[in-house]
């Protein structure tokens, strides 16, 4: 096993498991479709709320995608092979998260313009929403990968993982929706986006290391 063959295999396995991938996307679309039906379908309500709705849906669908990311690897013994491969587990975690991020976020970006129309999001703000998702979701994935690694050996780890991870998602959601709100009010939003990028970079630097430690602890 080397890093390239691992990434290729991981990518291929994500493509093979279309259902899981589609699930996250479908979930995202469904939350956004149901929201106006349940609350208020008028533009007066939806336009200001759009950023928040989109971000909550994003966070939840990321959580869905991340929750079981190591489960199969744990059950079939792949994680054991990670540990003895002589490769850096930290880097393997990074590659896995990267593959997961690509397969969830790229389709999400593609459907986003259509959904934004449904929420009466002004075209001028759409760019900021997309940018905030590009900058903010890496943090969600990386933080989520720690929780997934910690709970992988537990049979019902999903709830515990939610408790561990959700509080750490809050800053990302706050700053992302803050940026969108600012853009809607035609104020400067680069500060919030910069903080989002900073959170993602910190998560990128720290979480693969922490996830690798958690995997070592879980596989026993």
């Amino acid at each position: 096993m080397n890093y390239r063959s691992y990434f290729k295999a991981e990518w291929l396995s994500l493509l093979r498991r279309k259902q899981d991938t589609l699930n996250a996307l479908l979930f995202f679309v469904m939350v956004i479709t149901l929201f106006p039906l349940g609350v208020d379908p008028s533009a007066d309500f939806l336009a200001p709320a759009a950023g928040g709705i989109i971000w909550c849906a994003t966070a939840l669908s990321v959580l869905m995608a991340v929750e079981g990311m190591y489960k199969e690897d744990y059950n079939d013994g792949s994680l054991e092979q990670w540990l003895v491969s002589g490769l850096s587990v930290t880097l393997l975690v990074f590659l896995k998260v990267l593959a997961q991020w690509l397969i969830v976020v790229v389709p999400l970006m593609i459907v986003l313009p259509i959904l934004a129309q449904m929420l009466f999001l002004p075209m001028s703000v759409l760019g900021v929403v997309m940018l905030s998702i590009l900058l903010g979701t890496p943090a969600l994935f990386f933080i989520g990968s720690i929780g997934a690694a910690l709970t992988v050996s537990l049979r019902r780890g999903a709830v515990l993982m939610l408790l561990l991870i959700l509080p750490l998602y809050i800053p990302v959601i706050v700053f992302a929706t803050g940026a969108i709100r600012a853009a809607q009010l035609e104020m400067a939003y680069s500060g919030q986006l910069a903080i989002l990028a900073a959170i993602s970079l910190v998560a990128l630097a720290l979480s693969p290391v922490m996830a690798a430690i958690s995997i070592r602890a879980s596989v026993n």
């Binding site: 080397n2 079939d76 013994g77 792949s78 092979q81 003895v84 596989v219 026993n220």
Partner: protein, 196 residues
Amino acid sequence: MKDLWIERGERDLCRHLTFSVQSGELVRIAGENGAGKSSLMKSILGWLHFAEGTLEFNGEDVTQHRDMLLQNQLYLGHTPGIKNVFTALENLKLYCPDAAEDDLEQALVQVQLGAFADTPAAQLSAGQKRRIALARLWLTDKALWFLDEPFTALDVKGVEALEKRMSEHLSVGGAIVITTHQPLLNLSPKVIELAA
């Protein structure tokens, strides 16, 4: 070529265990269920900690940093690390990315899976999955093998083929550490007994 040397300090699992594995040597870790055979292997590979003791590989202390050891070994555990979504051939390719396509197929033929190269592993039995993992043994150039219960779920023919491959490996100077409850038919291992 190979000189592994282990001292294990006081621990419930085993106390003051010292043994070495030389090139061309087959070492069988024996003991009852739960005696800690797999745990011993896992701690040699570095994912359980020694309470005390040192581990040497080629004369160098690798107790703290296993990289050198890990890069020269091949480990097959209880769960073979075979992905259900991949075919037999793809599974093998993941672990042996540098091997040529022909060699991969040849290795599968060696473990009687030649006809199943393009079958998804999900449709294969436990024994067949294990054989995909074992096919790596025909492709590897790693000198030191750690085989944890490699014969589980294998049929007679599979056991025979595996033993043949093991003795080949030993004859070219490789070393094998194995745990198994089955008697080895044609090989005479050095036995390390773990008390429960």
